[in-house]
């Protein structure tokens, strides 16, 4: 049974300058515990798709099912890391991370401990009492990651969460994320523009095409974990996927298996 079932989703924005079809007829099944990565050119609709799954945006057509129930509104079962962080400037770093924990019914003490643990993971223990504007770009992104992970949700929706991190921090967070993913058996939808990152993390990589965003290609990644970004396997597959993104293939690459 699929954890998430995206069925024929289309999304039209009626902006100031006419309409834009951000997504067109996107269908996807994501099973429980899967780590799905979505890549695609800038502006192709990745964030939009994530927002629809989160329940933040209504699709123009189609439906999203989570556990076979129609997604109508956002909820703590589907935690989101936003592309712009969306941290609360009126709360300290610690309180930002604790924010979601009250809603899932944690006692105050547990909340503090859980938040401290995840802040430690993103190496921000030292900054726990600072306010958001006192953090660097990368630090903010890490707070956002900690906030979403701390809830330990069944579904984790991450929108380019690692885009502002240096290689070292990236590596350590990649590892942490995979550990958590395995430990709590969460289902992850992860958006990135970095193909290698996608391959390092994902069970499956979906390539979206631009305007309107459609599923252009799909890759199952069967490289054994832990994977390293500089591995030859990763590099080779990355080239293949990049070619798919560039559409250099003559034929439509429906399902290319790698192994």
């Amino acid at each position: 049974m699929s954890k998430l079932s995206i069925q024929g989703i289309s999304k039209r924005f009626d902006g100031t300058r006419g309409e834009v079809w951000a997504l067109k007829d996107v269908s996807l099944e994501i099973h429980k515990g899967e780590f799905l990565v979505i890549v695609g050119p800038s502006g192709c609709g990745k964030s939009t798709l994530l927002n629809i799954v989160a329940g933040l945006e209504k699709p123009t057509e189609g439906t999203v099912l989570a556990d076979n129930k129609k997604v109508k509104k956002p909820g703590p079962d589907r935690s989101v890391v936003f592309q712009d962080g969306a941290l609360f400037p009126w709360l300290s770093v610690q309180k930002n991370v604790e924010f979601g924990l009250r809603r899932i019914g944690l006692a105050p003490k547990e909340r503090t401990e859980r938040a401290a643990h995840y802040l430690g993971m993103v190496q921000l223990t030292q900054f726990k009492d600072n306010y958001i504007h006192e953090l660097s770009g990368g630090m903010r992104q890490r707070v956002a990651i900690a906030r979403a992970l701390a809830v330990e949700p069944q579904v984790l929706l991450m929108d380019e969460p690692f885009s502002a991190l240096d290689a070292m921090t990236w590596e350590s967070l990649c590892e942490d994320l995979q550990q958590i993913w395995q430990r709590i058996n969460t289902t992850i939808m992860f958006v990135t523009h970095n193909v290698r990152e996608a391959i390092c993390l994902g069970d499956r990589v979906i390539v979206l095409s631009a305007r309107p965003g459609r599923i252009h290609a799909e890759f199952n990644i069967e490289i054994p974990r832990p994977r390293h970004i500089d591995d030859g396997d990763v590099a080779r597959l990355a080239q293949q996927i990049s070619r798919a993104i560039k559409g250099e293939h003559g034929h439509h690459p429906e399902e290319l298996l790698y192994g």
Binding site: L87, R102, Y131
Partner: protein, 253 residues
């Protein structure tokens, strides 16, 4: 800090001097435009017979009570109105209309509903300041970047916690603007309300000064009201503002 105080003092002293000079120049009739010395004399007379303290205390009590009630009702109502279309389309219409109504419109109704007592004055004060608080808060909440609400929702924040933990703090900047202006409105309304009956209070003292064409008294009361307003503005609102600006990183650039 030091330099700013020097500036302030120089400014106030300069103003007083200018005032005294104009008063002495005889440009305007002395009874109608008394100089600072006359006003200070009047003020000290009112101080020495204690009447001004009573008036100030009575008025302060009324304004604090009325303003407190206006805040207590206005802030939640303002937030709600920003979020519920049906409220905005019904109550919102009334609120927009009430904004322009002067306080004297409320006097007959206050009398009718509450009688000749402090409650009637309180009603006038609440009606005078609540509307501006509601308007400012409603607009403030509508101007909250949607991203905060979206983020809160994905963390399962709905209903009451959404209001108290997200909408309220996120619209704090606008709420403060509304609260500040509401404070001014409350005083203005109080001055009208205190005309309902002889109720001690600064409004009455002011009115007496006006009725008796005693401009020294009018100006003395004006100065007291200004002093109270200024103190509240700097001590209360200023402190809150500085704190939230620091947190939000809204330093001057």
């Amino acid at each position: 800090m030091d330099k700013s105080w020097v500036r302030r003092i120089i400014f106030v002293v300069g103003l007083l001097l200018l005032w005294q000079l104009i008063a002495m120049s005889g440009l305007w009739n002395k009874t109608l435009f008394p100089g600072p010395l006359q006003v200070i004399q009047r003020l000290s007379a009112m101080v020495s017979d204690g009447s001004i303290f009573i008036a100030t205390l009575v008025s302060l009590k009324r304004v604090l009570l009325g303003y407190g009630m206006a805040l207590a009702v206005g802030i939640p109502l303002g937030i709600l109105m920003a979020r519920r279309d049906w409220l905005e389309q019904t109550l919102g219409m009334i609120v927009s209309g009430l904004q322009a109504l002067p306080s004297i419109c409320w006097l007959p109704l206050a009398l009718l509903w509450f009688g000749l007592n402090d409650t009637a004055i309180l009603f006038v004060v609440v009606m005078g300041s609540m509307v501006s608080i509601i308007v400012a808060v409603t607009d403030g909440v509508k101007n909250i970047p949607p991203t905060y609400v979206r983020a809160a929702r994905t963390m399962g924040t709905w209903r009451l916690p959404l209001y108290t933990e997200v909408l309220l703090p996120a619209s704090l900047p606008s709420i403060l603007i509304g609260a500040k202006l509401g404070w001014g409105y409350a005083w203005r309304a109080l001055m009208s309300g205190e005309l309902l009956f002889v109720s001690l209070g600064l409004g009455h003292t002011l009115m007496m000064g006006r009725e008796l064409a005693d401009m020294s008294q009018v100006i003395a009361v004006m100065l007291i009201i200004m002093a109270i307003g200024l103190t509240a503005d700097r001590a209360v609102f200023g402190t809150i503002e500085n704190r939230f600006r620091q947190r939000w990183g809204l330093a001057k650039t």
